[in-house]
């Protein structure tokens, strides 16, 4: 008999009761909430100090600006006019000698961008078999660290696989079944395909699901989570984009390029910013700013149906 035999014999122990796990979980989560509250308080104090320092710098800069004379300009410097956020989007046609004219649309508000994005949606292939996969390829960007390429395969019956360049280069089977959504509202694969396809019903579902005062903010996050990772069919996507156009509290940031250099329009609810393309009907990138000012972002590269997932072998011990 070897030491490994004896230790193997003494390895098996009973699992914790669900009650013990749940009781401790409540205590642990209370600790986390209290820790987060402390972090937020410190972040607020830091931000206040920064604002104060900024105000001092701005006051000093104001005096200096009076002495600046714009070069190459005969007249007084022009100020940028702020577009009113109402009225139809304005269009400008630009042409070059070698290419056909490009219509440049200038959107006035978030609703116009989202409505145009819904209109531009292309056809959507959907995995046909229950063990086929919806494959999403994306890149995560973390402050101070290298970007991580991530691919996720989700299927109705064959579970979820994930492969990423940092932690799981060989791929891993996460189990299943696949689920989509966020902010405490998760949809199964089947439920996703039963979502309403008209704007009014979708809006009612999104708003009614949370029952919270900030229902529109929650709905905004759910819309983009579903648009980014799920195989929602085209009609459902269209209803999601249109419903998002009617949500309160969504502001247009303006034109913005994503990490891949693709141009789109950025929308924000204050904490999450999304770059969408009204030309292709796609979400390009999402950015999340945590209360302590750290920005995490995910760039969507491509998505579509496939019948194969990585061949994953159990990790050797």
């Amino acid at each position: 008999m070897t030491i490994d035999d004896l230790l193997t014999e003494t390895r098996d122990v009973p699992s914790a009761s669900d009650e013990a796990i749940a009781t401790t979980q409540q205590v642990v989560l209370a600790d986390v909430h209290s820790s987060i509250a402390r972090i937020r308080k410190m972040a607020k104090q830091r931000a206040r100090r920064r604002r104060l320092a900024g105000a001092i710098v701005a006051t000093a800069a104001c005096g200096a600006a009076l002495l600046v004379i714009p070069r190459g300009s005969d007249g007084p410097p022009s100020t940028m006019a702020t577009s009113p956020d109402v009225g139809p989007p304005s269009t400008t046609a630009t042409a070059s000698p070698t290419s056909p004219p490009v219509v440049d649309v200038d959107y006035k508000n978030a609703s116009q961008v989202l409505t145009a994005t819904a209109a531009a949606l292309g056809p959507q292939d959907i995995p046909q078999d229950s063990d086929a996969f919806w494959r999403v390829e994306l890149v995560d960007h973390f402050p101070g660290g290298p970007s991580v390429s991530r691919t996720v395969w989700s299927s109705r019956d064959a579970g979820v696989y994930i492969q990423d360049s940092r932690d799981r280069p060989e791929g891993a089977h996460i189990g299943g079944p696949a689920a989509f959504g966020t902010s405490g509202r998760i949809l199964t694969w089947d439920a996703l395909f039963e979502l309403p396809t008209d704007k009014a019903s979708m809006l009612s579902l999104l708003r009614g699901s949370s029952g919270r005062a900030d229902a529109d903010r929650v709905a905004f996050k759910i819309v983009f989570e579903l648009l980014s990772t799920s195989p929602a069919p085209r009609k459902v996507r269209r209803a999601l984009w249109l419903a998002a156009a009617d949500l309160d509290g969504v502001a247009l940031v303006g034109r913005m390029a994503d990490a891949m250099g693709r141009h789109g329009w950025a929308l924000t609810d204050g904490t999450s910013t999304y770059i969408v393309s009204p030309e292709t009907g796609r979400l390009l990138e999402s950015r999340y700013k945590s209360p302590d000012g750290i920005v995490y972002s995910t760039t969507m590269l491509r998505e579509g149906p496939t019948t194969t997932a990585p061949k994953v072998t159990p990790r050797e011990r």
């Binding site: 230790l7 014999e9 009973p14 989560l29």
Partner: protein
Amino acid sequence: MQRFRREGHNKGVSATTSDADLLILSRTNADAFGEIYERHAKTVHRYLVRRIGAEPADDLLGDVFAIAVEGRMRVTIHASGSALPWLYGIAKNVVRSYLRARRSRAEPDVIEEFDWDAVDSRIDAAAKGASLRHALAQLPPGELEVLLLVTWEQLTVTEAAESLGITAVAARSRLHRARARANAALSSKTTTR
């Protein structure tokens, strides 16, 4: 009317989010830490039961995660992507403190790594229990811990190294020495009987 299923998920938190990403998110997102807890609480509990028995394990599980809540701001997750080696590192210190307190109350049969009563209850013959005790008693604490992490907790050698804050080469070397030393002790006990 159709309803979304309510679960404890939040921005960026799902079953597919890696432990490393969850720990970054958990700085300001309680659901992210909740997910870490759900993934690993039962495994950490088993670690505690193997060393100190079921009843104290229920109490100490909360201590391990309370320390993890504070430690999440500073941790760098092992290359395997699992938070378990880190959590085992915390659990090891919690067990030590607990056993040290018991020893100071002059309870015999307690070493700094585990409570023998908890181990003996899982072995089918008293003679085997005595052999195991004799073999493990020959091991320096550093070697013993690597051996237990690899055999009881099923960590890879590199994960065990991460848990103990040593290099993988050192862990491999300790594991080799621990097995050789313990097996030699088992053989000598058999031949002298």
